[in-house]
Subunit: 214 residues, 2 copies
């Protein structure tokens, strides 16, 4: 029943589904793609990888020396051939068939676990591996969640239990604006997705990704 850890698992699985990776590279991509500048630490990543291995969703494929290595380094007899027996140590992870299956089942579900704050970013980043209907339902779920929040927010502002000073109020206002902005962003995405679905229904052939105006 790990709730937050689920997000990380999904993210790892999603990245490994694109290509096998080792921990260091995995962390870099995780930080690049998700939580735009959040720093995921190894103290989080490695235990998560262990867990996934233990559950049989990913497997390790030891070593393979670094890509830019492999220089023949001609016959110096000293310590050239064996400075270490395995090149630079590397542990490459890849999805097992069970992992692929599990990932597909996760990506096919559209529920609260898909549109809560942290989860949403990960799920959205993996939309490329998600089918159109699920994409739409996740986007709509997220939108509903945010408007509920907006509602509660405005209500608590209407009935202030404790007066806030000028700056605290401004901070609150800016926070509200951020959420409104995300709702607007979602509106654009939803209408784009609907457009795609409609186009695909009319003529079920490959659609080139439509660009929405910024």
């Amino acid at each position: 029943m790990r709730s937050r850890s689920d997000v990380l698992e999904t993210a790892v699985l999603g990245l490994l589904n694109e290509s096998p990776l080792h921990g260091y590279e995995l962390r870099k991509r995780l930080n690049l793609v998700l939580g735009s500048f959040r720093a995921l630490s190894y103290g989080t990543l490695y235990p998560a990888l262990k867990g996934l291995v233990a559950r049989g969703l990913i497997a390790t494929a030891e070593s393979a020396p670094p890509p830019s290595a492999r220089k023949p380094k001609p016959g110096i007899p000293g310590r050239t051939t064996k400075p270490n027996p395995l090149g630079r140590r590397r542990v490459v992870y890849e999805l097992t068939p069970e992992g692929k299956e599990y990932l597909q089942s996760v990506l096919a579900t559209a529920g609260p676990a898909a549109w809560e704050d942290d989860n949403f970013d990960v799920r959205f980043a993996l939309f490329g591996q998600t089918d159109a209907e699920t994409r739409l339902r996740v986007l709509e779920g997220r939108r509903t969640r945010l408007t509920e929040r907006l509602e509660a927010f405005r209500e608590s502002t209407a009935h202030p239990r404790s007066r806030l000073d000028e700056y605290a109020l401004e901070l609150r206002r800016f926070g509200l604006e951020k959420v409104e902005r995300e709702v607007h962003w979602l509106d654009g995405l939803i209408s784009t997705e609907r457009g795609r679905a409609a186009a695909q229904n009319r003529s079920p052939q490959q659609e080139q990704p439509k660009k929405e105006r910024g």
Copy 2:
């Protein structure tokens, strides 16, 4: 050397400086004012309060029955006067002189500890207790920090080490937009603060808080 905990300490001290509070109420206000809808848990709050007490920055002033109690409840002899010996148990915290002094010293510093992500919100919410010059320097520091981030961000987009798919890119774009939006927000605040400072220099009398346009 607690780094994140410092934020919470400052927030607690700042709130208690306005009025003594008990834990439950403290948590509600913390969640209302700071991290717009973040949920600070008791598992965080109570240890922090303990620590502050241990360091002599706040003190407990036990009990005082709930505000809406105190109804005389005329002469029923039974259990009226003493249903429980201490009303509903409450632990009220208030700043000690040392705490006030410490808070002032914290609020007077404008350094990275003031404008990093989490810290900034707290410091901004306490701007009402911060002098004008420090306010300005914190805002400017925050702005510099964000533009640096923007820079690194754009650079990593210009030299993509790994190609991102359509959705991951859109997520990144939206993240970038959020940061740009905050920079713009800061620009407005900075110019407002400068205006106040200038007005105060010209005629050093009380200025009514100028309203910037939404």
